[in-house]
Protein backbone atom coordinates (compact mmCIF):
# COMPACT_ATOMS: atom_id res chain seq x y z
CA UNK A 1 0.00 0.00 0.00
CA UNK A 2 1.50 3.31 -1.11
CA UNK A 3 1.51 5.47 2.01
CA UNK A 4 1.52 8.69 -0.04
CA UNK A 5 -2.14 7.86 -0.55
CA UNK A 6 -2.83 8.54 3.16
CA UNK A 7 -2.00 11.83 4.75
CA UNK A 8 -2.78 14.39 7.42
CA UNK A 9 -2.72 18.10 6.76
CA UNK A 10 -2.60 21.23 8.92
CA UNK A 11 -3.52 23.30 5.85
CA UNK A 12 -6.98 23.64 4.22
CA UNK A 13 -7.82 20.69 1.97
CA UNK A 14 -8.44 20.64 -1.77
CA UNK A 15 -10.34 17.84 -3.50
CA UNK A 16 -8.52 17.69 -6.82
CA UNK A 17 -5.08 16.61 -5.52
CA UNK A 18 -6.70 13.69 -3.67
CA UNK A 19 -8.61 12.64 -6.78
CA UNK A 20 -5.40 12.88 -8.82
CA UNK A 21 -3.80 10.25 -6.57
CA UNK A 22 -6.35 7.59 -7.60
CA UNK A 23 -6.98 8.32 -11.31
CA UNK A 24 -6.01 5.44 -13.56
CA UNK A 25 -6.44 4.58 -17.26
CA UNK A 26 -8.53 1.58 -16.30
CA UNK A 27 -10.77 3.22 -13.78
CA UNK A 28 -14.17 4.26 -15.04
CA UNK A 29 -15.51 5.43 -11.70
CA UNK A 30 -14.19 7.71 -8.98
CA UNK A 31 -16.30 8.18 -5.86
CA UNK A 32 -15.26 10.87 -3.43
CA UNK A 33 -16.52 11.79 -0.01
CA UNK A 34 -15.92 15.22 1.49
CA UNK A 35 -16.73 15.70 5.15
CA UNK A 36 -17.30 19.36 6.01
CA UNK A 37 -17.98 21.24 9.23
CA UNK A 38 -21.73 21.66 9.64
CA UNK A 39 -23.04 24.70 11.47
CA UNK A 40 -26.14 23.25 13.16
CA UNK A 41 -26.40 19.86 14.93
CA UNK A 42 -29.57 19.14 16.92
CA UNK A 43 -30.35 22.85 16.89
CA UNK A 44 -26.98 23.65 18.49
CA UNK A 45 -24.63 26.05 16.70
CA UNK A 46 -21.03 24.98 16.19
CA UNK A 47 -18.55 27.87 16.18
CA UNK A 48 -15.44 25.91 15.22
CA UNK A 49 -13.78 22.51 15.58
CA UNK A 50 -10.32 21.31 16.46
CA UNK A 51 -8.92 18.02 15.19
CA UNK A 52 -5.99 16.33 16.88
CA UNK A 53 -4.34 13.02 15.91
CA UNK A 54 -1.80 10.48 17.02
CA UNK A 55 -0.17 11.30 13.73
CA UNK A 56 2.13 8.37 12.84
CA UNK A 57 -0.44 5.81 13.99
CA UNK A 58 -3.29 7.62 12.18
CA UNK A 59 -1.41 7.44 8.87
CA UNK A 60 -0.51 3.78 9.47
CA UNK A 61 -4.14 2.94 10.35
CA UNK A 62 -5.42 4.68 7.22
CA UNK A 63 -3.02 2.57 5.15
CA UNK A 64 -4.35 -0.58 6.89
CA UNK A 65 -7.87 0.43 5.90
CA UNK A 66 -6.56 0.88 2.34
CA UNK A 67 -5.26 -2.71 2.44
CA UNK A 68 -8.65 -3.94 3.64
CA UNK A 69 -10.38 -2.10 0.79
CA UNK A 70 -8.06 -3.48 -1.88
CA UNK A 71 -8.64 -6.99 -0.53
CA UNK A 72 -12.44 -6.62 -0.51
CA UNK A 73 -12.76 -4.73 -3.82
CA UNK A 74 -9.98 -5.78 -6.21
CA UNK A 75 -8.70 -3.12 -8.64
CA UNK A 76 -9.79 -0.23 -6.43
CA UNK A 77 -7.40 2.46 -5.21
CA UNK A 78 -8.13 4.57 -2.13
CA UNK A 79 -6.65 7.88 -0.98
CA UNK A 80 -7.52 9.69 2.24
CA UNK A 81 -6.46 13.09 3.53
CA UNK A 82 -7.60 14.23 6.97
CA UNK A 83 -7.32 17.78 8.23
CA UNK A 84 -5.88 18.66 11.64
CA UNK A 85 -5.99 21.90 13.63
CA UNK A 86 -8.73 24.53 13.80
CA UNK A 87 -11.61 24.41 11.29
CA UNK A 88 -14.44 26.86 10.65
CA UNK A 89 -17.93 26.19 9.24
CA UNK A 90 -17.84 24.54 5.78
CA UNK A 91 -14.11 23.76 6.05
CA UNK A 92 -13.19 20.30 4.83
CA UNK A 93 -12.32 17.78 7.57
CA UNK A 94 -11.72 14.70 5.44
CA UNK A 95 -11.53 13.67 1.79
CA UNK A 96 -11.82 10.04 0.66
CA UNK A 97 -11.33 9.25 -3.03
CA UNK A 98 -11.79 5.75 -4.47
CA UNK A 99 -11.22 4.74 -8.07
CA UNK A 100 -12.48 1.50 -9.55
CA UNK A 101 -13.20 0.04 -12.97
CA UNK A 102 -16.92 0.04 -12.07
CA UNK A 103 -19.17 2.31 -10.11
CA UNK A 104 -20.75 0.04 -7.50
CA UNK A 105 -17.38 -0.89 -6.02
CA UNK A 106 -16.33 2.75 -5.90
CA UNK A 107 -19.37 3.75 -3.83
CA UNK A 108 -19.17 0.73 -1.53
CA UNK A 109 -15.44 1.01 -0.91
CA UNK A 110 -15.78 4.72 -0.19
CA UNK A 111 -18.55 4.21 2.35
CA UNK A 112 -16.61 1.36 3.98
CA UNK A 113 -13.50 3.54 4.25
CA UNK A 114 -15.46 6.29 6.03
CA UNK A 115 -16.98 3.78 8.46
CA UNK A 116 -13.57 2.34 9.32
CA UNK A 117 -12.06 5.82 9.77
CA UNK A 118 -14.78 6.65 12.29
CA UNK A 119 -14.19 3.36 14.11
CA UNK A 120 -10.45 3.08 14.41
CA UNK A 121 -8.27 5.95 13.19
CA UNK A 122 -6.77 7.82 16.17
CA UNK A 123 -8.11 11.28 15.36
CA UNK A 124 -10.21 13.33 17.75
CA UNK A 125 -12.60 16.21 17.25
CA UNK A 126 -13.27 18.94 19.81
CA UNK A 127 -16.44 20.95 19.23
CA UNK A 128 -16.70 24.59 20.26
CA UNK A 129 -20.20 25.94 20.94
CA UNK A 130 -21.31 29.26 22.40
CA UNK A 131 -21.77 27.58 25.79
CA UNK A 132 -18.75 25.29 25.96
CA UNK A 133 -16.46 22.75 24.35
CA UNK A 134 -16.32 18.96 24.24
CA UNK A 135 -14.21 16.17 22.84
CA UNK A 136 -16.62 14.20 20.66
CA UNK A 137 -16.74 10.42 20.95
CA UNK A 138 -15.72 10.25 24.59
CA UNK A 139 -18.72 11.88 26.26
CA UNK A 140 -21.36 9.95 28.23
CA UNK A 141 -24.01 8.13 26.18
CA UNK A 142 -26.67 10.68 27.15
CA UNK A 143 -24.90 13.54 25.43
CA UNK A 144 -23.29 11.71 22.52
CA UNK A 145 -24.57 11.97 18.99
CA UNK A 146 -26.50 9.02 17.69
CA UNK A 147 -24.37 7.00 15.29
CA UNK A 148 -27.00 7.84 12.65
CA UNK A 149 -26.52 11.54 13.09
CA UNK A 150 -22.83 11.85 12.44
CA UNK A 151 -21.89 13.48 9.14
Amino acid sequence: MDTDLFSLSWEPLDVQPVIDKVVDRNCGAIATFIGTVREMTHGKKTLKLEYEAYEPMAVKTLAQIGDEVEAKWPDTTVAVTHRLGTLGISDIAVIVAVSSPHRKAAYEANEYTMERIKEMVPIWKKEFWEDGTQWIGDQLETTSYDKEEKP
Partner: protein, 77 residues
Protein backbone atom coordinates in the same frame (compact mmCIF):
# COMPACT_ATOMS: atom_id res chain seq x y z
CA UNK B 1 11.08 3.08 30.98
CA UNK B 2 8.16 3.70 28.68
CA UNK B 3 6.92 6.78 26.89
CA UNK B 4 3.19 7.14 27.53
CA UNK B 5 1.21 9.30 25.06
CA UNK B 6 -2.04 11.00 26.04
CA UNK B 7 -4.67 12.41 23.67
CA UNK B 8 -7.86 14.46 23.59
CA UNK B 9 -9.88 14.31 26.84
CA UNK B 10 -7.15 12.37 28.70
CA UNK B 11 -4.49 14.89 27.68
CA UNK B 12 -6.72 17.76 28.88
CA UNK B 13 -7.40 16.08 32.23
CA UNK B 14 -3.79 15.13 32.95
CA UNK B 15 -2.54 18.44 31.57
CA UNK B 16 0.36 16.75 29.74
CA UNK B 17 0.88 15.31 26.25
CA UNK B 18 3.11 12.51 27.48
CA UNK B 19 4.52 10.87 30.60
CA UNK B 20 7.58 8.81 31.40
CA UNK B 21 6.55 5.70 33.31
CA UNK B 22 7.84 2.22 34.05
CA UNK B 23 5.07 -0.01 32.73
CA UNK B 24 7.25 -2.97 31.63
CA UNK B 25 5.67 -6.23 32.74
CA UNK B 26 2.23 -4.71 33.24
CA UNK B 27 -0.74 -5.81 31.14
CA UNK B 28 -2.75 -3.22 29.22
CA UNK B 29 -5.50 -3.53 31.82
CA UNK B 30 -3.00 -2.94 34.64
CA UNK B 31 -1.47 0.03 32.85
CA UNK B 32 -4.91 1.66 32.59
CA UNK B 33 -5.42 1.16 36.32
CA UNK B 34 -1.97 2.63 36.98
CA UNK B 35 -2.87 5.81 35.11
CA UNK B 36 -6.26 6.04 36.84
CA UNK B 37 -4.56 5.61 40.25
CA UNK B 38 -1.76 8.11 39.66
CA UNK B 39 -3.49 10.92 37.74
CA UNK B 40 -6.72 12.89 37.98
CA UNK B 41 -8.50 11.21 35.06
CA UNK B 42 -12.03 10.01 34.45
CA UNK B 43 -12.55 6.29 33.81
CA UNK B 44 -10.42 4.71 31.09
CA UNK B 45 -12.94 1.88 30.55
CA UNK B 46 -13.75 2.97 27.00
CA UNK B 47 -10.14 3.92 26.23
CA UNK B 48 -8.16 1.79 23.78
CA UNK B 49 -4.43 1.33 24.17
CA UNK B 50 -1.88 1.17 21.38
CA UNK B 51 1.60 -0.27 21.89
CA UNK B 52 4.14 0.94 19.34
CA UNK B 53 1.30 2.30 17.16
CA UNK B 54 -0.70 -0.95 17.06
CA UNK B 55 -3.93 -1.51 19.01
CA UNK B 56 -3.31 -3.88 21.94
CA UNK B 57 -5.60 -6.25 23.83
CA UNK B 58 -6.42 -6.01 27.55
CA UNK B 59 -4.05 -8.82 28.54
CA UNK B 60 -1.15 -7.98 26.22
CA UNK B 61 1.98 -7.25 28.28
CA UNK B 62 4.06 -4.10 27.89
CA UNK B 63 7.81 -4.49 27.29
CA UNK B 64 10.66 -2.23 28.34
CA UNK B 65 10.97 0.63 25.82
CA UNK B 66 7.49 0.20 24.28
CA UNK B 67 5.61 3.40 23.45
CA UNK B 68 2.17 3.19 25.05
CA UNK B 69 -0.66 5.43 23.79
CA UNK B 70 -4.03 5.94 25.48
CA UNK B 71 -6.65 6.32 22.76
CA UNK B 72 -10.07 7.59 23.85
CA UNK B 73 -12.98 6.82 21.48
CA UNK B 74 -12.02 8.34 18.14
CA UNK B 75 -14.06 10.98 16.32
CA UNK B 76 -12.31 11.70 13.05
CA UNK B 77 -13.99 11.74 9.65
Amino acid sequence: MNEVLLFARIQDEVGQKSLEADLAGKSIKESKRWVEDNYEVSSLTRTMVAVNEEFAKDDDVIDEGDTVAFIPPVSGG
